[in-house]
């Protein structure tokens, strides 16, 4: 497996929406490289004939009746909001326009 470069980490941090300083990117790249080295072995273990397990205990068809339950009040819904206006959650501009 290829090593994780600093640019890779920068891209991953962008995907994960975590702002990182240059120093942090450098450090993280080194640490991740070591970790990935240690765990990359899994890719060589199982052949194509082995099915993947996504759930430890096999269950199927767990459904809910289509019946309305208890909702939060608007006040409860917004109780943890960092910012709000008119009963809605308020966020800064979505587009980055200079």
């Amino acid at each position: 497996m290829s090593a994780i470069s600093r640019d890779d980490v920068a891209h991953l941090a962008e995907l994960a929406h975590i702002a990182m300083s240059d120093a942090e990117l450098d450090r993280m790249a080194g640490e991740l490289d070591a970790i990935v080295d240690a765990i990359a072995s899994v890719s060589e273990v199982a052949g194509d004939d082995v099915p993947a397990t996504s759930h430890p205990i096999p269950l199927a068809n767990v459904f809910r009746e289509d019946v309305v339950g208890v909702t939060l009040t608007q006040e409860e819904a917004l109780s943890g909001a960092p910012d709000q206006q008119d009963g809605r959650f308020k966020v800064p501009a979505i587009l980055d326009e200079d």
Binding site: A19, V42, V45, L59, A93
Partner: protein, 518 residues
């Protein structure tokens, strides 16, 4: 007072029922103990939040119902009035839930976790919320954003993690019971290094609704206690089907306490205990191996047949775990973005866009270990790597399940040391993530396969507790409790007292620590 806090939950419940003790007295005794030993700077620091007022109100309510007698008193849950501590990963109305993270500092959930609803219905006074590694990510509780917890056996050592707070609280007699969560060993490994009992039920046996998710397919809430019986009693209370959790098992809660009582009273004739070849040997401390071997002798003496089983794919468990866990976690923790709840942090420079606010919020809100794992998980899921990493790890999971299935053909329960080492010094592995990850080597396979596991105290090595782990097939939690209770009984009889009574005088140690450092 010392007498009250040293009682097990079962004993405490019995005294409450008999009227020789009130719940208010029990709660006050534990609050006093917390005040004496839980100092954040120098003490155990198991608690992040105390809920004294509500706990006392619930206790008074239970006492009033008992005093009035009649049908309502009769209908009280057997554990009613017995205080409990809650890992701060489980959401509670009216008390903050931080997950050990700055991200959620000050956040109060508008809803209760299903296990909390059950605890409220059964009227167990909740003493407060216990410390943990941030978002349950760690094996030492050193990754808490609010300072580490200390091991009651030696305040300079780690209490295990991520549920170090719950284990330490119970070990320090600050609570007879606590709730934990176990994704890769976060209940069992702290249990091992603090000389307490911790169980991870079969995946789905306890509802996850309201436990802040780390890795959904691995997480399980479970009991933390000082005896196997207490653990069984608590699991019976919190277990059972929950329509709010799609992965919740449909079946009724098995009779776990009865199984524990049966194990403690009877012998183990006809029971095959399988020693997992791969979980021992190199990397395991001599003292740990010695205590483990002694436990095997005791089991044999009690009538069990000891067999050796091989689980050849367990050597890949750690690697598979460190792909699956961060992958699921990176997605589960995406919701912490400063939009709907939690703390919002504005970027230091540039335009204030939501994109940059999310980036700054997550940069400031998450600690290094969480960030490291989010990046790792993002990597494992990303285009071009999914098959090699996440996909392969899911296949290894299948192989590990097959190993378990084969092992359970030969043995009724499996046994191993819970952790390869006793509690290490605070800070010893903080700079070496890989060394830290190895703490979970013996506990992770159970999470990958969904099978139940329990750790019980197996004696001391260099004055520090060693844990013995039992694993049973999925849905066979009762079998696990029976055998664990049998070994516990043999060990305690051999020692002549519970292991925890060999721990240091904690109040004195905390006082000395304060003295020394002030």
């Amino acid at each position: 007072m010392t007498n009250i806090i040293s009682l097990s939950a079962a004993e405490l419940a019995e005294q409450l029922r008999a009227g020789s003790l009130t719940s208010v007295e029990a709660v006050n005794a534990h609050l006093a103990r917390i005040a004496a030993v839980d100092d954040a700077e120098h003490g155990v620091h198991a608690f992040l939040h105390l809920n004294a007022e509500e706990a006392l109100a619930v206790a008074a309510e239970v006492d009033a119902i008992r005093a009035a007698g009649g049908a309502e008193a009769e209908a009280l849950h057997p554990l009613a009035g017995v205080p409990i501590a809650i890992k701060d990963l489980i959401v509670t109305k009216g008390q903050p839930t931080t997950a050990g993270s700055k991200m959620l500092e000050g956040w109060v959930s508008p809803y209760d976790a299903t296990v909390i609803e059950k605890i409220r219905a059964a009227k167990l006074p909740m003493l407060g919320k216990t410390n943990l590694d941030e978002f349950a990510q760690g094996s030492s509780t050193e990754h808490s954003a609010f300072g580490n917890t200390r091991n009651p056996w030696d305040l300079s050592r780690i209490p295990g993690g991520s549920g170090g707070g719950s284990a330490a609280a119970v070990a320090a007699f600050e609570a007879p019971l606590a709730l934990g969560t176990d994704t890769g060993g976060s209940i069992r490994q702290p249990g091992a290094v603090t000389g307490t009992v911790g169980a991870k039920p079969t995946y789905g046996a306890v509802s996850r609704y309201g436990a802040i998710a780390m890795a959904s397919s691995l997480d399980q809430i479970g009991p933390v206690a000082r005896t196997v019986l207490d653990s069984a009693l608590l699991q019976e209370l919190i277990g059972g089907h929950d329509p709010k959790d799609s992965t919740s098992l449909p079946e009724a809660v098995p009779a776990l306490a009865d199984a524990a009582r049966e194990g403690a009273a009877g012998d183990l004739s006809g029971v095959r205990v399988g020693v997992i070849e791969e979980l021992g040997g190199e990397g395991y401390e001599e003292g740990v191996k010695a205590r483990f071997d002694e436990s095997l002798e005791l089991l044999k003496a009690r009538g069990a047949e000891i067999v050796t089983v091989s689980c050849p794919n367990f050597k890949y468990a750690l690697a598979a775990y460190y792909l699956i866990m961060p992958s699921e976690m990176s997605s589960n923790l995406a919701k912490f973005d400063g939009v709907r709840y939690g703390n919002r942090v504005l970027p230091e420079d540039g335009n204030v866009t939501i994109e940059r606010v999310m980036g700054a919020t997550r940069a400031a809100g998450f600690g290094d270990e969480v960030k490291r794992r989010i990046i790792l998980g993002t990597y494992a899921l990303s285009a071009g790597y999914y098959d090699a990493y996440y996909g392969s790890a899911q296949k290894v999971r299948t192989l590990i399940q097959r190993d378990f299935a084969a092992a359970f053909e030969q043995a009724d329960v499996l046994i191993s040391p819970t952790a390869p080492t006793v509690a290490f010094e605070l800070g010893a592995k903080l700079d070496d993530p890989l060394a830290m990850y190895l703490n979970d080597i013996a506990t992770i396979p159970a999470n990958l396969a969904g099978v139940p596991g329990i750790s019980i105290p197996g004696g001391l090595s260099e004055g520090l507790p060693v844990g013995i782990q039992f694993l049973a097939p999925a849905h066979e939690d009762a079998r696990m409790y029976r055998v664990a209770a049998a070994l516990e009984d043999s060990l305690v009889k051999q020692w002549g007292h519970p292991l925890l009574s060999e721990a240091q005088d904690l109040e004195q140690a905390v006082a000395a620590a304060k003295e020394g450092k002030n």
